[in-house]
């Protein structure tokens, strides 16, 4: 059984179908990428999986159990964590407290002392050693992204949703972030990532879905997807992507 099954999921906003009948599945341990032009429904799809939005139709199953329409904190408790396209750390809290929220409210058990130790370990893992006491508002963009990742990891997810994690980073920072993501997958985490930086996605993911205007227009290994005429049309223009 796949870890995540998205089955003909749709979501409309006032007559516009942001996500239209999208189906795919993610197996445990996979790193799957989602790409598509602006407005193609990537973030909406993430919001549906993470529970920030309820789908109008279709099913979303985790371990075979329907999670569509559950509140975000319940979905987190089932084992899905996310980061946000525009970083949203708890600005007034210290880096350590940010991660502690994830640890104390996520799926991990254990007391306060264990939680603090684990939060500190995660700060080191994402490269924020020495920043535990710094308020999140005073971190740089990449550090805030790292912090959000640590907060998501602290909830002990099985599936991590990364929404444009590399956006706004310079090439060196992007390389660092890629190494980090690879390491997480190597450690057994399943990752679903939306990414605009196509080369990074091609490099990381074994399988890529391409969305356009809310529909899935291609799915497959990076090279196959890149060569797909529909995808080329969507990215480079030309004839309409679908008949």
């Amino acid at each position: 059984m796949p870890l995540l099954e998205v089955d003909r999921v749709s979501k409309g906003f006032g007559g516009v179908l942001a996500v239209s009948g999208v189906s795919f599945s993610v197996a445990a341990g996979e790193l799957v990428g989602i790409m598509g032009p602006n407005g193609s429904g990537k973030t909406t799809l993430f919001n549906l999986i993470a529970g920030a939005l309820a789908p109008d139709g279709g099913r979303i199953r985790l371990h075979g159990r329907d999670i569509a329409g559950l509140a975000p904190h319940r979905i987190c408790a089932r084992g899905i964590a996310r980061t946000f396209q525009l970083v949203r750390p708890f600005a007034g809290l210290s880096a350590l407290d940010n991660v502690l929220v994830g640890r104390l409210y996520g799926r991990a058990a254990g007391g306060r002392a264990a939680a603090v130790a684990e939060a500190e370990r995660l700060l080191v893992l994402v490269g924020l050693d020495g920043r535990a006491a710094t308020p999140a508002a005073r971190l740089t963009l990449i550090d805030r992204k790292r912090l959000e990742l640590a907060r998501a990891l602290a909830t002990s997810p099985e599936l991590l949703l990364l929404d444009e994690f590399m956006a706004g980073l310079n090439p060196a920072e992007t390389a660092t972030a890629m190494t980090l993501v690879r390491r997480l997958v190597a450690d057994g985490l399943t990752v679903l990532m939306v990414e605009h930086i196509v080369w990074a996605l091609m490099d990381l993911a074994r399988r890529i879905l391409v969305l356009s205007a809310g529909e899935k227009i291609a799915e497959g290994p990076p090279q196959a997807v890149a060569a797909d005429p529909n995808v080329v049309d969507v990215y480079l223009g030309g004839a309409p992507a679908r008949a």
């Binding site: 904190h73 319940r74 949203r88 007034g92 809290l93 005073r138």
Partner: protein
């Protein structure tokens, strides 16, 4: 853990104040300190829901009023005051939980406006249903002991400080602060926001109800609608903001400064003090959103510009 240190300091100061009545202090001094102690409790109670959980409740007076109303009625009919106050607090909390679930469907400014309306509805209703002034029976007035009120106020202020200290260091307190900073991100991190907001509201209104009961025990005669007046809400708000919203020591420092300043200004300029406080509040929100606590931090130069402070 600066909170622990502040808590210890504040509790020691409150402990020292326990000796004030023994020093044959004049009644006006005891009355003055009583007002500060009542203000600390009220400000601290508002701080829980607004400062920690980030939900600006502008109907706080409703819960102070409900506590005062029930405690007064029960006490005058012979219930021991502490029991009467606890009953008043229970009523305030029950009402809070009743209106909390629908009220928390409103976010931000809408929650603030909704709770403001709620407070005013309650005040008007009480004013219409109980228009007569409430005066203590002559026998009670004859045996009136200011010291009893003073010690009760002292105990309640200590309870409020301990409650906030425990909350601030707890899992629930951290979850509330996460909600204050970003409710959606908190939910995504596993925080069940509605339940925690209701918890904050329940704790906040229980303390406000107790403070209302203390007021009912202290005041010899007043209109039953008086404790429902919006100034109780805005006094708490001003004190908390002046001191430092979302901190343990802020509401305490704010309450002291506010009461002292208010007495001083009211003597000199009568009603002009309201204008002065209005201007002070605007200045603080614009220039020093972290209040006195932030000012002290800046002065010490330990912390530079702080991040966004919660409303």
């Amino acid at each position: 853990m600066t909170e622990r240190r502040w808590a210890l300091g504040i509790l020691l100061a409150l402990g020292a104040l326990a000796f004030l009545p023994l020093s044959r202090a004049r009644d006006d001094v005891l009355n003055f300190v009583f007002l500060i102690l009542l203000s600390i409790t009220l400000a601290q109670s508002w701080n829980i829901v607004a400062g920690y959980a980030g939900q600006v409740n502008l109907g706080h007076a409703a819960f102070f009023g409900l506590g005062a109303l029930l405690a007064r009625v029960l006490w005058i009919r012979g219930t021991p005051i502490v029991v009467a106050m606890l009953a008043g607090a229970a009523l305030a909390t029950a009402f809070a939980l009743l209106i909390g679930a629908p009220a928390f469907r409103l976010r931000g400014a809408y929650f603030a406006i909704g709770t403001l309306a709620l407070g005013e509805i309650l005040r008007t209703t009480v004013n219409n249903v109980l228009p007569e002034i409430s005066t203590l029976p002559a026998a009670t007035i004859a045996g009136y002991q200011l010291r009893h009120r003073y010690y009760l106020a002292l105990a309640l202020a200590a309870v409020s400080v301990v409650a906030v200290t425990v909350l601030a260091g707890s899992r629930a307190g951290l979850g509330m602060q996460a909600i204050r900073e970003d409710e959606e991100a908190a939910e995504a991190s596993g925080v069940g926001a509605l339940r925690l907001k209701l918890t904050a509201l329940a704790l906040s209104t229980a303390l406000a109800g107790l403070a209302g009961g203390l007021f009912a025990y202290y005041h010899i005669s007043y209109y039953p609608s008086h404790p429902f007046g919006p100034h109780w809400t805005f006094d708490a708000l001003l004190m908390t903001f002046i001191g430092g919203v979302g901190t343990l020591q802020g509401p305490v420092l704010g309450a002291i400064l506010y009461v002292v300043l208010k007495e001083y200004l009211a003597v000199r300029w009568v009603d002009f003090h309201l204008l002065i406080f209005g201007a002070l509040f605007i200045a603080i929100v614009l220039l020093l959103p972290g209040g006195l606590v932030q000012a002290a931090e800046r002065a010490r130069g330990l912390v530079g510009r702080r991040g966004r402070r919660p409303l």
